[in-house]
Structures are given as C-alpha cells and as structure tokens.
C-alpha cells in the first residue's frame, strides 16, 4: 500500500492505494466519487476525463501514485466554478446529454476548450472533442452548448492550471523496486480454433542431407530449442508436449501455458506441431500450427519448408495494431529456420528469446493482426 495525499475537489484527502491502482479506481472505490465514469480503460473513450492540476487527463491511465500532492477536480467538485456553471446551464439548454454517461468527461473537456481556446470555432471544437465519445447525442447539442458559452462570454474560471512540480533532486531515498518471481502461468481451457488464422511460410536450404535434417527435426527438445521463447515441461512418447511459450512485444509480455501435439510422417519427411494455450493473467488465448517438410535439394543439401498458422484471441488480440505482426512473424520464422539449420550443422543456438522477441511473439502478433483486421471490419459495418 502507498499512502496517497491529494487535494480532491478543494479538500485535502489522504488514502491508501495499492501502487497498481489507477486514479479512476481510487476515486471511485476509495473516495466514493462515482461520478467519474469508466468506459474503455485504454484512454480512448474519454469517459474518465477529469481535471488534474487544472488540466484534463485520463484518470484510467494515470497511476494514483503518480498524482501525489496533485489537485484533482471531478464532476462532484465543479459546483463552485463559474465556467462550469455556465457550461452546465448550456448543456441543459442545448440538450447536450441524454444518458449522461459521457457527460462528466465531456464537461472536463468543454472546460478546457472554453478556457484554453477562447477563439475556437466549430471545427476546432469538434477537433478538441474527438477524444470524448458519446453514444447518445450525436454531438450536435454538445458542440452547440460549448459554442454558446464561447459566444456569450466565458466567465473567469475558479479552477486554473497549476504548474507540475518536479521532485527535488534530494528527495528521500526512494524505495527499491521488489523483484517478483517468474510470472505465473496457468492452464486455460484451450478453445481457440485456427479458422481464420494467419499463414506464413519460409524455405531454407541447409548444407546437410535430408536424412540428417529429418533426424534433427524428430528430436522434440531440439526443435523446441530452435523456437525462441519455447520451454518444454514434459513430453510423452506419443508426442504430447506440455510447455509454455513466452512472447514479448515491446512492453507487452504474455506467457502461454498449454499443450501441443507433435506428429511426424517418416515416409514423406513431414510433420506438424499443433498447440494451444492461454495466458492466465491477460486472459489471452493462442492456438497455432507449425508444418514442416524436408526435401533433398541437390548434393549434400536439404530444403526445409516451414509454415506457420496462428490465431490469437483475448486482450492481446484486441490491443496491438495489425500490421506490426507480419514483420515480427516473419522475423521469427526466419530465426526458427536459421536455428534449425545451425543445429543440424552441429552449432549451438541461444536459448533465450533474442532481443525479447520469442518466436511465439511472431505467432501472437500474426494472430493479433488478423483479429485486429476483423475487428476493424466489424467496426466499419
């Protein structure tokens, strides 16, 4: 717990907050100020917008601990401000609200517009309102209400921007950050299907015989070693594998624990690994299949063809942007085939995901891209 001190709606207040608590939760749960609404918790919808040090900010992506000693104004604290009074009357007159869910955030943004941009025209008002979504009004009433306050003359505000104070360099020794144990992963029922997954493939010629390369691929432990981010817990003789895959995409990290099945066909020197798993903490699911085949390619050479199909669901799928995926997937598939080549030729590969990018990152990202595209299509409908 961190002791938090804030000036909320003009009153000095202290409370205990877990360091992970965002400001909206702190205000709603600890201070019982439930007028601050939460919509997306991603910073996109604007419902949680409040005034921090006199400036609008998203309380859903502002850490409470980062606001130590700040001045906080929520919808409950706008009563004594003349600008807010004018906006309130104007919102009422121009039918700028219906259900009211967006209104606390709309008022914080409207306050910012009329105090910071006294010359704003309708186009500018709309531009500034772009970060506050309203499902009811169609915005016309909100724009009209703000325009009316601007044209009727904005009263002098009681709430004013306060300069952000930097911490004194001689601040008391900051507590050290605790190191946590490895992120927990747990079994989540695999429900993801590969339908609609993304397929990528890579071929690589390796200077070993096809038989040699095939023997290499039949060693599950070695195949896993070539997949950066993969770890095997148990393997049964019939090819059932329990293990995990860790992916890092920038600051995002997910560790998928689950099961895979490996099938080899000696006659055609081809095989597949099919697996699925879940990341308990982010409640994301992944399913994927890697198909591989070895063919002779002239004197002392073999061709390894690898194809990957992936599908991702859950928050990780919703979050990232689609097109990033292909780049990383391709990079990782390349890494996998290169690692297999190195191993087959007697070399060693690093066990760690290179630069934080596990092969699985690729997979996840590719699934992510697919889902995002579908999400966008849904939006357009």
């Amino acid at each position: 717990m961190t002791r938090i001190h804030l000036r909320i709606n003009g009153r000095e207040q202290s409370g205990d907050a877990e360091p992970r608590t965002h400001l909206a939760d702190f205000l709603r749960e600890e201070m019982n100020l439930t007028g601050t609404h939460l919509g997306c918790e991603h910073g996109v919808c604007g419902a949680c917008t409040i005034l921090i040090d006199g400036r609008p900010a998203r309380s859903c992506i502002t850490m409470t601990a980062a606001c130590q000693d700040a001045d906080i104004r929520t919808i409950e604290g706008y009563l004594d401000d003349p600008v807010m009074a004018a906006l309130r009357a104007s919102f009422k007159k121009h039918h700028a609200l219906q259900c009211g869910f967006c209104t606390p955030g709309m008022l914080a943004t409207a306050f910012d517009i009329v105090t910071r941009l006294p010359d704003a025209d309708e186009a500018r008002i709309r531009e500034e309102l772009a970060g506050n979504l309203c499902r009811c009004t169609g915005y016309a009433g909100i724009v009209a209400a703000i325009k009316a306050v601007l044209s009727e003359g904005v009263p002098a505000p009681a709430i004013r921007p306060i300069k952000r104070v930097a911490l004194a360099a001689s601040a008391e020794a900051s507590p050290a950050i605790a190191t946590s144990s490895a992120p927990p992963t747990g079994a989540v029922e695999p429900t993801a299907s590969l339908e609609g997954g993304v397929t990528l493939s890579r071929n690589v010629a390796i200077a070993v015989s096809a038989d040699h390369l095939w023997r290499e691929l039949k060693d599950i432990q070695r195949v896993a070693a070539a997949l950066p981010g993969a770890a095997i817990d148990t393997v049964t003789p019939d090819g059932h594998v329990k293990g995990s895959f860790t992916v890092a995409i920038g600051p995002m990290r997910a560790s998928f624990g689950g099961n895979a099945h490996v099938i080899y066909d000696d006659a055609s020197r081809s095989g597949l690994v099919r697996g699925s798993g879940g990341d308990r903490l982010s409640r994301s699911m992944a399913a994927g299949e890697v198909r591989f085949a070895v063919t002779p390619a002239g004197a002392g050479h073999a061709m390894l063809a690898a194809e990957i199909v992936y599908r991702l669901s859950g928050p990780l799928a919703q979050f990232g942007r689609g097109a990033v995926v292909a780049d990383i997937v391709d990079r990782l598939l390349q890494q996998f085939t290169a690692n297999i080549a190195t191993l087959a030729q007697g070399g060693a590969v690093s066990e760690k995901p290179q630069g934080g990018f596990g092969l699985f990152a690729a997979a996840i990202l590719s699934m992510l891209r697919r889902l995002l595209r579908r999400g966008q299509r849904r939006d357009q409908r």
Binding site: H22, D25, A130, S174, A178, I249, L281, L316
Partner: protein, 266 residues
C-alpha cells in the same frame, strides 16, 4: 481489467531512475499513456514501476546555439503550448497538437513516445526526419544515438533494460528551411495509418524525405533529390522503400508523400 500487482517509486533524477531500474523486472513509466492501457490489460506485468515524470533533470530544457535539448519527460502539451522552446520554426508545435487528444497530451511525454517506438507514433517519425538524437543514460555511461539508429523494429529500440532516455537533442532549423509532415488518420487524434515528412535545409545542406507508419522503423528515402525534382514519383519511391506494403496501404503512403512534397513546394 486492472493492472497486476506491482511496486511503484518516483525518481527525482535520471541517476535515481537508473539506480531503481537495476531490478530486472522493473519498468520506467513516464506519462503512462501507452504503458497504462497495456498495464490495465495485463499485457505488461512489471514487478515495479519507476516514475520519471517528475524527475527535475528529465523535465528540464537546455538550449545551445545549434540545438535544443529536451528532457525526456517534457509533455506533448508543453510542446504544443510553446511552454518549452521549439528548435524549429513552429513545426514541432504543430506535430504535438496532432498527437492523440489534449487529455493524453497533458501527460504523454516525448521520451515515452520514442521509447515505446510505435512505428505510427508522431514523434518517432517527425523527429527522425528532423535528424534528432537521444541521449541514453545508465549507471556508468552515457551515449548519444541518432534516431535513425535508435529504432530496431516495431516497439523495439537499442535501449538496454537498465538504460533510460535522458534527453532528446533536436538540431535548430531556421525559416530558410522548409518542412512538411503529413499524417493520415481516419479520426482526429488517431495513430497514423500512413505518414511522410520532408525536410529541405539548405543552410545545413540536408534534404531528408521520410516514410513513416510502415509498421517498422521509418525509412529515410535514398534519392531524396530525385524525388524532389520529380524524376522518381512518390508511388515509385514508396514501392522501392517499402515493397511489403499492400496496394491500399502503398497508395496511402504515396498520397502522404505527394501531399508532403506539395506542402514544401507551396
């Protein structure tokens, strides 16, 4: 969803921050405007956060005859409002105003944007085109890296785990130079779907044309002069520099480049 359990500490200086980062699972947080959503979704689960948003030296701006050095924790809104000096004739101010929404700009920082390295982010692209560098600090050393060499992939940079961006150095530009930054997005405040920037600075003998938001680090186009004179068309330049783009995306990037070129010509 809510962030997973973590500890939190506010750094009073860059040195302080670097010391607190020594734990491998700790992560820097500045404005939290990119990390916040990721924490809420538990896609990132650092054991601890080191808050640099109020570190005095990371909030400072210093000027030299040749450049402006921005502390990494300067916010987009401070740039937009002209609270900090603009190294260019108002170009950075214009870029800042188009980033996200005011409520996000009030907390989001220039250093956070660069460290996050989203290929579609505005500072990532505009500051690379402006030939900016970052000063990276760790406990025993400091190094200066040009942005061209800083980004290594989507959301990936050369930053080591115990290293932070201390400052961003932006070379000064005068009114003799010309500049255009064009960002395509479907909705105001969104990340770019395609972007292009053009810088013509005769005083420094620089012509830089950049293609951004290509889901990998931005590319500075070779043959900038030929693109300027029109002997290489924008469509051709895009096809050569980013052959992986699908037709619709390539067309959008070519249009962004065409518009940026028209803006500097105007």
């Amino acid at each position: 969803m809510k962030a997973a359990s973590l500890s939190y500490a506010a750094a009073a200086s860059a040195t302080d921050a670097v010391r607190m980062l020594s734990s491998p699972e700790a992560k820097v947080i500045a404005g939290g405007q990119s990390l916040g959503p990721i924490l809420n979704l538990r896609l990132a689960r650092p054991s601890g956060l080191v808050d640099v948003s109020r570190a005095a030296d990371l909030r400072a701006v210093t000027e030299t005859p040749d450049a402006v050095h921005y502390g990494a924790a300067v916010t987009h809104a401070e740039m937009e409002d002209g609270v900090v000096p603009d190294a260019t004739p108002g170009w950075m101010q214009t870029v800042a105003r188009r980033i996200a929404y005011r409520a996000v700009r009030n907390r989001g920082t220039i250093g956070g944007s660069l460290a996050h390295a989203d290929p579609a982010a505005d500072w990532v692209n505009a500051l690379t085109a402006l030939d900016a560098s970052v000063v990276l600090t760790r406990s025993d050393a400091e190094r200066t890296v040009k942005l061209e060499q800083f980004f290594t992939g989507p959301f990936a940079t050369v930053l080591a785990a115990d290293e932070i961006i201390a400052r961003v150095i932006v070379p000064r530009r005068t009114l003799q130079a010309r500049w255009a930054y064009w960002k395509f997005c479907r909705k105001t405040g969104e990340f770019a779907k395609a972007s292009a920037a053009v810088l013509l600075d005769p005083a420094r003998n620089q012509t830089r044309i950049l293609l951004g938001a290509i889901e990998r680090p931005p590319v500075l186009l070779p043959d900038a002069e030929a693109i300027m004179t029109g002997s290489i068309t924008p469509a051709r330049a895009v096809a050569c520099a980013a052959p992986e783009l699908d037709a619709a995306s390539a067309a959008m990037h070519a249009a962004a480049l065409t518009r940026a070129l028209a803006m500097v010509a105007a």
